[in-house]
């Protein structure tokens, strides 16, 4: 087709278009407009309002567009700083710091952090000895966990990933209960159904851990929405790692929380590693916090090894979320000093000196301790006494849990549904019959009687 010859189809279209334009102009001639204005003035309020909203909405959409004639491909490199209050030696560096934490509470937080560390060591050894089947430690993240937990209200609904035992501890889920869960015995709230460290408790208001990563993040948004509708002055909070933030559920949760205005805190533990994957293989933007802007929400990056900073940031985030009914993203920068889990040997993928540097130079426990000592609120005698009593306590808890029987066999079948359906009843009866025939093959003595 010759480019100079007008295309017949185009002709038809443009003729139609012209006709429509003419019709439109006629419809909106000054006379018609006058009539429209008149009728709007006469019409009931709601009709006028509807017409205005329509016009506003259209012009709003139009105004939201900004145009340019330049093609400018760019990547905004940022390095959002971490908020901190004390330095690596425990010295206050924030000049205008007005502590909202009493010394007593600070000591309580420090003790809980230490307890978590003692528990980690003993439970990990118990796993090495084959006493429990699996374990995950918290070395390097004690401040992020307990500092944030201490800033929450007990009525705030908590959803965790799995490396958050400190949060449970702060909320009353004690080492004895953790021991029961790790042994899956008759006292475990979860009735021995899940792997060790999958804690959960209604009394502590912390929802039960599940292994699939990031699934809990949208749960926190949904719970926060329900809290808002109930008119409660509380937040939902989801803890997750930097690796989990790559899951689709992270995206879903943040976008839902922003658009549906949920009072929720998204608390990312950025510890540098997702099993063997370092952060530069996890994302290329400025950490997790840089994403908040894209979802239209506020956020903080905080030094996760500075307990005071984590506490203050979480406290402020919480106040904002409750008052504004909006989400906040918090990114606590720390370092995972432990192996990923008892099934992992991190020396196969990360340099030893990296680990040592964090242990010796930027250690959340040491930082609070030095701060407390500088204030004269703590000394090495208190430290030694505390450590000694904690060790005894943890060992006693493990032994107690070990002695308890496993839950009764019936709990294999209960709670699948609220009521046991006929098919499950049949399977239960079949298993009982089988066990009666071969009792010695199944070590039935370890289960509690119903």
């Amino acid at each position: 087709v010759d480019a100079q010859t007008p295309c017949p189809v185009m002709n038809v279209v443009s003729r139609r278009l012209r006709a429509r334009l003419v019709a439109c102009r006629r419809a909106f001639s000054s006379e018609t407009l006058m009539k429209l204005k008149q009728s709007q003035a006469d019409s009931p309020v709601n009709e006028t309002k509807a017409a205005e909203t329509e016009e506003d909405s259209a012009s709003k959409l139009r105004k939201s567009r900004v145009y340019t004639t330049e093609l400018d491909m760019k990547l905004e490199k940022t390095n959002i700083p971490c908020f901190r209050i004390i330095d690596e030696e425990g010295q206050v560096v924030k000049s205008d710091y007005k502590p909202s934490l009493s010394v007593e509470k600070m000591i309580k937080i420090y003790e809980t952090m230490s307890k978590l560390t003692v528990m980690d060591k003993i439970f990990y050894d118990a796993q090495r000895q084959g006493r429990i089947s699996f374990f995950m430690q918290h070395m390097g993240e004690q401040a992020a966990l307990i500092g944030s937990a201490a800033a929450l209200d007990q009525e705030d609904v908590v959803y965790t990933q799995y490396r958050e035992a400190g949060v449970y501890m702060w909320r009353g889920f004690d080492i004895q209960q953790m021991s029961h869960q790790c042994y899956g015995n008759v006292h475990d709230y979860g009735k021995g159904r899940q792997m060790p460290i999958h804690y959960g408790s209604r009394a502590s208001n912390v929802h039960t851990v599940s292994s699939p990563l990031a699934t809990q993040i949208p749960h926190a948004a949904g719970a926060a929405y329900a809290l808002k509708l109930e008119g409660k002055p509380n937040v939902g909070i989801a803890y997750f790692g930097d690796g989990a933030a790559s899951e689709g559920d992270f995206h879903a949760a943040l976008n839902f929380a922003a658009t549906l205005e949920c009072p929720v805190i998204f608390f990312c533990r950025n510890n540098g590693w997702a099993i063997s994957t370092p952060v530069h293989e996890q994302f290329r933007g400025d950490g997790i916090l840089s994403r908040a802007k894209g979802y239209g929400m506020y956020g903080y990056r905080v030094d996760g090894n500075d307990m005071l900073a984590v506490y203050e940031a979480t406290k402020e985030a919480r106040e904002y979320a409750v008052e504004q009914k909006k989400p906040v993203l918090l990114e606590a920068m720390s370092y995972r000093r432990s192996h990923h889990s008892s099934s992992d040997d991190s020396s196969t993928y990360r340099p030893k000196d990296e680990l040592e540097w964090w242990q010796n130079n930027n250690n959340p426990i040491d930082r609070v301790r030095m701060h407390l000592e500088a204030r004269g609120a703590w000394d090495s005698d208190k430290e030694a006494a505390m450590r000694q009593s904690m060790k005894k306590q943890v060992v006693a808890c493990l032994n107690e849990a070990e002695r308890a029987p496993k839950p009764p066999i019936v709990d294999l079948f209960t709670d699948v549904y609220k009521e046991m359906p006929p098919r499950l009843k049949e399977q239960k009866a079949a298993l009982e019959e089988h066990l009666a025939k071969y009792p010695e093959a199944y070590n039935l003595g370890k289960y509690a009687k119903e």
Partner: protein, 383 residues
């Protein structure tokens, strides 16, 4: 009767009726008896539903019945929220029309376009006591939420030792063929979900059923996947009680009594099966007992097995592909429990083991003719 069938096997070439050795008079008599039984059964079912409701009825199609159920649930309980993609303006199938205006943006709202988010959000709300009714726009798009449904919602109660549960969650989703839906507007993914312990799967076949079953699902203490046959949204119309009434989950319904073959189906497939059964009666004097399963998990094994013990034959039919379809579960269970009553192999008339095709839809579908053939075949094959 067994003797009749065995001898009929030897007389190949005759029509099934001739093979069964029934005279024309007998055939007419059986037909009359069958029609009488059917109409009695139909009256009984409707009467039951109405007795359970408040008596007064209104003519509704499937989408207006769903809308009515949602309206009742929202009005009854502040903890019920209705949300999903494009729900606020009434939904792409009009199921939520008028609800936003009546109950406000907080309780009837749009979500971002993200299925895993919709279900994850619903689970979170349910886990602290709400009763969210989440909509997935087409069952074909439920798969992004598979993890949330199977790993989270279904296991929430069990894994927490009943400390928490997601029992408040109801997931509504339109499923099934619609004439021109192609790959992603036609699927019937129920069997993926019947494999998940902890989840209930419900499929209604008509407006009155949809309303009663949906209301039960919303207030059920377990998470429910509620699959709505979109083919019937506008085409299925009947009298529906106006009040709040519940049809219990886990119970199948014998919608037509019969003596020769048991036919089991759910959702839109029931209309196809009724047509096939009519044809088998008219052409061959075969009396079919039709069972609507209604709930797929946990399914009503008793009702189906009792029926098969009576008829000795079973045809199962669903739109979803045969391989790994829910028909396999029914077939296997009935074989285990009714082996000595079975007089013929159990037949499965299902979608083909292909993706759902566009221009070949008519060939793909387990239509009334394929079902009719299976019914006749199972009588012919009888030992």
């Amino acid at each position: 009767r067994d003797e009749e069938h065995c001898s009929s096997q030897r007389r190949k070439g005759a029509t099934p009726m001739q093979r069964r050795g029934l005279s024309a008079v007998l055939r007419t008599r059986r037909l009359a008896r069958h029609v009488r039984a059917c109409s009695e059964m139909r009256r009984k079912t409707e009467a039951d539903v109405i007795a359970a409701g408040q008596g007064e009825t209104r003519s509704m199609n499937l989408f207006t019945a769903i809308n009515d159920a949602l309206d009742i649930a929202l009005g009854k309980d502040d903890e019920v929220y209705v949300f999903g993609e494009d729900v606020k303006f009434g939904g792409v199938f009009r199921c939520c029309i008028g609800l936003n205006e009546k109950y406000g943006d907080d309780r009837v709202f749009n979500t971002p376009l993200c299925e895993q988010g919709i279900i994850g959000f619903a689970i979170g709300a349910a886990a602290i006591g709400a009763k969210p009714v989440a909509e997935i726009q087409f069952a074909d798009y439920i798969h992004p939420a598979f993890d949330q449904i199977v790993n989270e919602a279904a296991k929430y109660r069990y894994r927490s030792g009943n400390e928490f549960n997601a029992g408040g969650v109801t997931i509504r989703t339109p499923y099934g063929a619609v004439g021109h839906g192609g790959h992603y507007h036609s699927q019937s993914p129920e069997a993926f979900f019947t494999h998940a312990a902890g989840l209930k799967v419900v499929v209604p076949r008509s407006p009155a059923q949809a309303k009663g079953l949906l209301l039960s699902s919303i207030f059920e203490p377990d998470p429910v996947l509620f699959m709505e046959p979109k083919w019937l949204y506008r085409t299925s119309v009947e009298e529906v009680p106006v009040g709040d009434y519940r049809i219990p989950l886990g119970e199948a319904e014998v919608i037509r009594a019969g003596s020769d073959v048991t036919i089991v189906g759910w959702g839109a497939q029931l209309q196809i099966l009724a047509k096939a059964a009519d044809m088998a009666m008219e052409k061959d004097g075969i009396s079919c007992e039709i069972i609507d399963l209604r709930t797929l998990t946990p399914w009503d094994e008793d009702t189906v097995c009792r029926s098969v013990e009576k008829t000795g034959r079973l045809v199962i039919s669903h739109e979803a592909p045969q391989h790994g379809g829910f028909g396999a579960e029914i077939s296997s269970t009935v074989q285990e429990k009714c082996f000595y009553h079975l007089q013929a192999p159990i037949q499965r008339i299902c979608g083909l083991d292909t993706p759902f095709p566009l221009i070949y839809e008519k060939l793909y579908m387990p239509d009334h003719l394929k079902n009719y053939e299976a019914i006749v075949q199972s009588v012919k094959d009888s030992c």
